[in-house]
């Protein structure tokens, strides 16, 4: 669709007029110069700082390297074997997958319900939208420091629970190894739920009112309209949200790092927190870059599969075009 449009846009009328070939050659040269001028800086920046690091990661991951001296202890795929046999990393993968699964299972229905609610016409609606979206723009580091203060024993959260008569449910939110992963999930939800709501609201605005009205006139109940018309038409939005959420969950770092540092023990370790712990704090740089490559692989495989099987239908999606 877009290709035909731009072909029309760029079919320069100047080129259509017959001209001496010298002039045309000059025009072609000029176009080449213009394109070089326009594209080179962005390409250099992008290749240098986005693609080269990926190559560096793959390269260093084949060495035993601690950050000092020459890179000469070639170990082949040893670092990858190490990761495969590292119980802490396997745990970190599991925790990351749990966080991803919880995000899909809990945040999606929740943001869908709240978006449907906020799409209603009621007083204070725009204020609500503003409030709900606000946590999303806070620096995650600020969110994490904030919540780590509130979740201290007998801190704000505990006091509020006591005030609400839930004093018996108070827990050691950040110290109980069976609970701490879920505490992290709650804080992540507080920060990111607004993004889902706003995305879905934008999708809801795109659904023609006539469709819902027609269904209502035909006797459909509000629930039927929501279930059979609104939610299916939100499909593309939901699929994009799922994509962004999974990619985001696979690389969770800031909040977990500041709240718990992956602990206590390794009970809330995620893939990226472990990568930083092993590769940076402990200076097993070769091993850390191998973990980085593995996390890349997770993101990449997910994206490919997802685009192949889920996003394929949204032909207008730019991400689909990018990989096919």
């Amino acid at each position: 669709m877009t290709t035909t449009q731009s072909a029309a846009a760029t079919g320069s009328p100047v080129a259509a007029v017959p001209r001496p070939s010298r002039g045309r050659r000059r025009l072609r040269l000029r176009k080449k110069l213009e394109l070089t001028f326009l594209l080179t800086p962005a390409l250099v920046l992008f290749v240098g700082f986005v693609l080269v690091p990926v190559v560096i990661a793959a390269w260093y991951s084949l060495y035993n390297y601690n950050g000092f001296g020459p890179l000469n202890d070639f170990v082949g795929l040893h670092n990858y074997k190490l990761a495969w046999n590292d119980p802490i990393f396997i745990n970190a993968v599991e925790h990351t997958l749990v966080l991803t699964g919880l995000s899909l299972a809990i945040q999606l229905p929740l943001s869908l319900a709240l978006a449907l609610l906020l799409n209603r016409d009621f007083r204070g609606r725009s204020f609500m939208r503003l409030v709900v979206f606000a946590p999303y723009v806070l620096p995650p580091a600020v969110t994490a420091v904030m919540w780590s203060l509130m979740l201290q024993p007998s801190g704000f959260v505990d006091q509020v629970m006591k005030a609400l008569g839930l004093g018996g449910e108070v827990q050691l939110w950040l110290a109980n190894i069976h609970l701490v992963l879920y505490t992290n999930f709650l804080v992540l939800t507080w920060q990111y739920i607004g993004f889902g709501i706003v995305l879905l609201l934008a999708g809801l605005q795109g659904i023609p009112v006539e469709l819902k009205e027609a269904a209502a006139i035909d006797g459909a109940t509000p629930w039927q309209v929501t279930r059979r018309i609104t939610i299916p038409l939100l499909g593309p939005t939901i699929r994009i949200w799922v994509f962004l959420t999974v990619i985001g969950s696979l690389q969770v770092f800031d909040i977990v790092w500041i709240l718990t540092g992956g602990g206590p023990g390794h009970s809330s370790m995620t893939m990226v927190t472990y990568m930083i712990l092993a590769g940076f704090r402990s200076l097993y740089i070769g091993y850390g870059t191998a973990l980085a490559v593995i996390i890349f692989a997770f993101c990449f495989v997910f994206s490919l599969l997802y685009q192949r099987f889920a996003l394929r239908r949204d032909t207008a999606g730019a991400l689909t075009r990018a990989v096919e």
Partner: protein, 288 residues
């Protein structure tokens, strides 16, 4: 007549339904606002407490109200340094990403040449390489370039990682602008570059605001890469500064609360004024 009657009846039932639904809607809305705002209010209000007061009763009205936590933070250098560094990095990163990204988006939307789609695909593939995951190799790269502990090194990296989204949105927007405008400019003797600077850029203002804000907020919030590359405290950005402050002054809860509250203000301030553009950015992600 019939149609009008059904319409009236429909409006009545809708109105009845509205009266039964509204209380529930408001109840959920109030709970949602409470959960969202309570933490922010807690941090801001408890910044006015003394440590003794926080330990005895962290909820309710401070007793006594003290300003010293806030004034001591605003009166010392670190906070302003962090703020200045964050602003510098964000402005440089945003400018680079938006200027270079728009130029490339122009080339990829209004020129016809072999390899155009391949180059665009290359840029968009950057969406799959999140900055967080690339942090360790980026650290090694900046080390090679001698850009560790350097705000401009951070800004360049953030600009590079902001390019994919910038180009996605800018190219989509520029493509939608009718070709007739360009033809008219060319007929009037303007070159393609002049058309870009004089006509296309001003017309793309809504998209430019959106991509600028996305790049700015992205840079402003980055924590992991600054954590790795900065060693000199006076180079820290705000998120790194807040987190470091918490570990340094872990016993002085009141001061950390005040610092966190102040650190949240710039982001919330930008957000209040730019909410609709950010929402447009989110919506743009859907439409691609």
């Amino acid at each position: 007549m019939m149609a009008a009657a059904t319409a009236t009846r429909r409006r009545q039932t809708l109105q009845q339904r509205r009266w039964t639904i509204m209380p529930a809607t408001y109840l959920i809305a109030i709970v949602l606002v409470g959960i969202t705002l309570a933490p922010l209010l807690f941090v801001a209000v408890d910044g006015f407490r003394t440590n003794a007061d926080i330990n005895s009763s962290p909820i309710g009205v401070p007793h006594p109200w003290v300003l010293s936590n806030y004034t001591s933070i605003l009166g010392t250098a670190p906070f302003w340094q962090f703020l200045g560094n964050s602003a510098l990095v964000a402005v440089v990163a945003t400018t680079m990403a938006v200027v270079l990204g728009s130029m490339a988006a122009f080339a990829l939307s209004r020129y016809q040449f072999p390899g155009r789609e391949a180059i665009f695909t290359l840029f968009i593939s950057g969406l799959l390489f999140p900055l967080g995951v690339a942090a360790l190799p980026l650290y090694l790269l900046l080390q090679h370039l001698g850009l560790l502990d350097n705000q401009l090194g951070l800004a360049v990296v953030e600009a590079a990682f902001a390019l994919p989204v910038t180009m996605l949105i800018m190219r989509g927007f520029m493509r939608a602008i009718p070709g007739e405008l360009e033809d008219a400019a060319l007929v009037d003797g303007a070159g393609k570059l002049r058309f870009f600077v004089r006509i296309l850029v001003p017309l793309s203002r809504p998209a430019l605001v959106t991509v600028s804000l996305l790049a700015f907020v992205g840079s402003w919030n980055t924590y992991l890469l600054p954590l790795l590359i900065f060693t000199t405290p006076s180079h820290f950005t705000l998120p790194l500064g807040v987190a470091t402050y918490q570990t340094q002054f872990s016993t002085n809860t009141a001061a950390i609360l005040a610092f966190t509250a102040i650190a949240a203000i710039p982001a919330l301030g930008v957000f209040m004024f730019a909410e609709r553009y950010l929402v447009a950015g989110a919506a743009g992600a859907v439409k691609g």
